[in-house]
């Protein structure tokens, strides 16, 4: 049932993989240098010539690039081919600044599709599966990315896109969706709406897998989703700069397999830029090895993760990244302490008395930062005694303190009081004036 899409590549001995990466690194470095004035200038500033990059370890001689470069060269200044090679654009929403544009040659689209075909196969998807793609279609990469990947492996695509939740549930039932791809927060909302419609995902649909990503989520949320709906919840990863969603965990659910023939990844200390040891958390840096319209050289993605180079028990030799813990830019600093929303989530999802949604509000009272965490009281555990509710909010606060090292006020709110989202959930509201 759990097969390989491309067994030769996926199980390639590590030495052979490294050799392949080395060759591809040499040619992509030469390529960007010859095709892009942006990269030529960057290399010159860093004092590095393409022929100095011979071995894999030489990659550290190359300069970093980042979203700032992408914005400064808006719209297509980092592209390495003329626009008439580009078969498609995607554009990021620009919620954290100016929008960013990415482009693909036909080969780049094929690479993206190949990557997802391997990933979807590794979680047991294939011919006969109906994959409901509830990521947004359009400028966002999620919908179309999954769409092509699912078609490639012979699955049936149900392109519902995001929104219109009741219809999603009806179609899921009527057309027998066996998997759904969306943000984990949107799936929790779908589950909530299904219950209100008097049906259960477990008993009334054929859904067996969820492919969840586009926002950081925790093991606790995975357990909640799996326990309440009976499906397997898989983590998917990728950013628009890298193409879109590209990689998932395999069926063993122990880290996301990053195809080493397509991308070279490093994990660095965001402050010093030095590589951290395997197993330590740091910022993900990506060099694309088979992407031609818009290649990436040591691009700082901004996501915080942990690298694991051990081959997986599933037989795949490619490196894995463990769960995305957050982004360098959604980390909030409260009273000088770094807090990731995913840390808060991991605490909350272990407490059965509270609901699936939460919101973190940071404000300033006088000179002091105050963090308030809003959680919903669920009806199944609602006690009519005030003392029980008070001790619930105290227990949540104490558990947050033990993980975050910071005191958070916990506010119990009514179910539904926290806004639901069909895409990425807004978990943090920072009211501090900077």
């Amino acid at each position: 049932m759990f097969e390989y899409w491309n067994p030769h590549i996926e199980r390639m001995p590590i030495e052979d993989l490294h050799k392949m990466q080395e060759e591809r690194l040499r040619s992509i470095v030469r390529y960007v240098h010859d095709h892009s004035s942006f990269y030529r200038q960057r290399f010159r500033e860093a004092g590095v010539q393409p022929d100095e990059i011979k071995r894999l370890s030489d990659v550290t001689k190359l300069p970093f690039t980042s979203k700032r470069d992408l914005r400064n060269t808006y719209p297509t200044g980092m592209f390495c081919l003329p626009e008439n090679w580009v078969v498609r654009y995607h554009v990021s929403s620009g919620t954290t600044g100016k929008p960013t544009v990415v482009g693909y040659t036909q080969g780049d689209v094929n690479m993206w599709t190949e990557s997802l075909a391997r990933a979807l196969t590794s979680i047991g998807m294939g011919r006969g599966d109906v994959i409901q793609v509830s990521y947004g279609y359009g400028l966002f990469t999620g919908g179309l990315g999954l769409h092509y990947g699912a078609e490639r492996i012979g699955a049936t695509v149900l392109p519902t896109s995001a929104g219109n939740t009741e219809r999603q549930i009806e179609l899921m039932q009527d057309l027998g969706s066996s998997a759904i791809a969306c943000t984990p927060s949107y799936f929790l909302y779908i589950n909530e709406v299904a219950q209100k419609m008097g049906m259960s995902i477990r008993d009334d649909t054929k859904l067996k897998a969820g492919i969840f990503g586009a926002e950081p989520w925790s093991e606790g949320t995975r357990r909640r989703i799996e326990d309440s709906t009976g499906i397997k919840a898989y983590d998917i990863y990728g950013t628009s700069e890298m193409s879109g969603p590209l990689f998932t965990e395999c069926h063993l659910q122990n880290g996301i397999h990053i195809w080493a023939d397509l991308f070279l990844i490093e994990v660095i200390d965001p402050k010093t830029g030095e590589r951290v040891e395997d197993g330590e958390r740091g910022e993900l840096v990506v060099t694309s090895l088979d992407k031609w319209a818009f290649p990436l050289i040591r691009y700082r993605i901004g996501d915080i993760t942990i690298l694991n180079n051990e081959p997986c028990e599933c037989g795949r030799t490619h490196p894995r990244i463990m769960r995305i813990l957050g982004r360098t830019d959604d980390m909030i600093i409260v009273r000088g302490i770094n807090v990731f929303p995913s840390q808060v989530e991991s605490v909350l999802m272990k407490i059965p008395e509270i609901g699936d949604n939460y919101q973190i509000i940071v404000d300033r009272k006088g000179p002091l930062d105050v963090m308030t965490v809003k959680v919903e009281v669920t009806e199944s555990t609602f006690s009519d005694k005030i003392a029980d509710l008070m001790s619930l909010s105290k227990a949540v606060s104490m558990q947050l303190k033990s993980v975050l090292n910071i005191t958070a006020e916990v506010e119990l709110v009514e179910p539904g009081a926290i806004p639901r989202s069909e895409g990425k959930a807004q978990r943090v509201i920072d009211k501090r004036k900077v």
Binding site: V377, T378, E379, F382, D384, K385, I386, L389, E414
Partner: protein
């Protein structure tokens, strides 16, 4: 069993919450017999005894409120000095704790009614009845 059902609602301490609860019950045609609000900072719990508990519970639940049903006792209080003492003393000598209580009077009834949540409802029913106190049944509350 002389216990009656009370409806409890979790509510944020914000303008309009009580009005929403009241409107839901009004629309459902449910009449409130007694009501109390316990508040604790950001939130509170609205507790009430209504004429038709099932209907009230369903209406509130369907409107998205966090609702629960709790077993409570409705004990008649004599309208004389010491009326409340008689009840609470009976519970106290039997070592039964009162979690909370609230009272109401109706136009028709000559006596007041005390709603009690206790830690041991069966024993409380027994000792209060043995001490000669009258506990209202569900039907009585419905028909007041």
């Amino acid at each position: 069993m002389a216990a009656i059902k009370q409806i409890s609602i979790f509510a944020e301490n914000k303008p309009g919450r009580m009005a929403r609860v009241a409107k839901t019950l009004a629309d459902a045609g449910v009449n409130i017999r007694a009501l109390t609000i316990a508040e604790a900072g950001d939130f509170g719990v609205i507790r009430m005894v209504v004429d038709d508990t099932e209907k009230g519970y369903k209406a509130l639940h369907d409107d998205g409120f966090t609702v629960s049903e709790t077993d409570v006792l409705a004990v008649e209080i004599k309208d004389i000095p010491g009326g409340l003492y008689e009840i609470t003393n009976t519970l106290s000598v039997n070592n039964i704790n009162v979690d909370y209580a609230y009272a109401f009077v109706t136009a028709k009834a000559e006596r007041a009614m005390l709603i009690l949540r206790v830690d041991d409802i069966e024993r409380a029913t027994k000792v209060l009845s043995e001490a000669g106190m009258r506990l209202a049944t569900r039907e009585e509350i419905q028909n007041i």
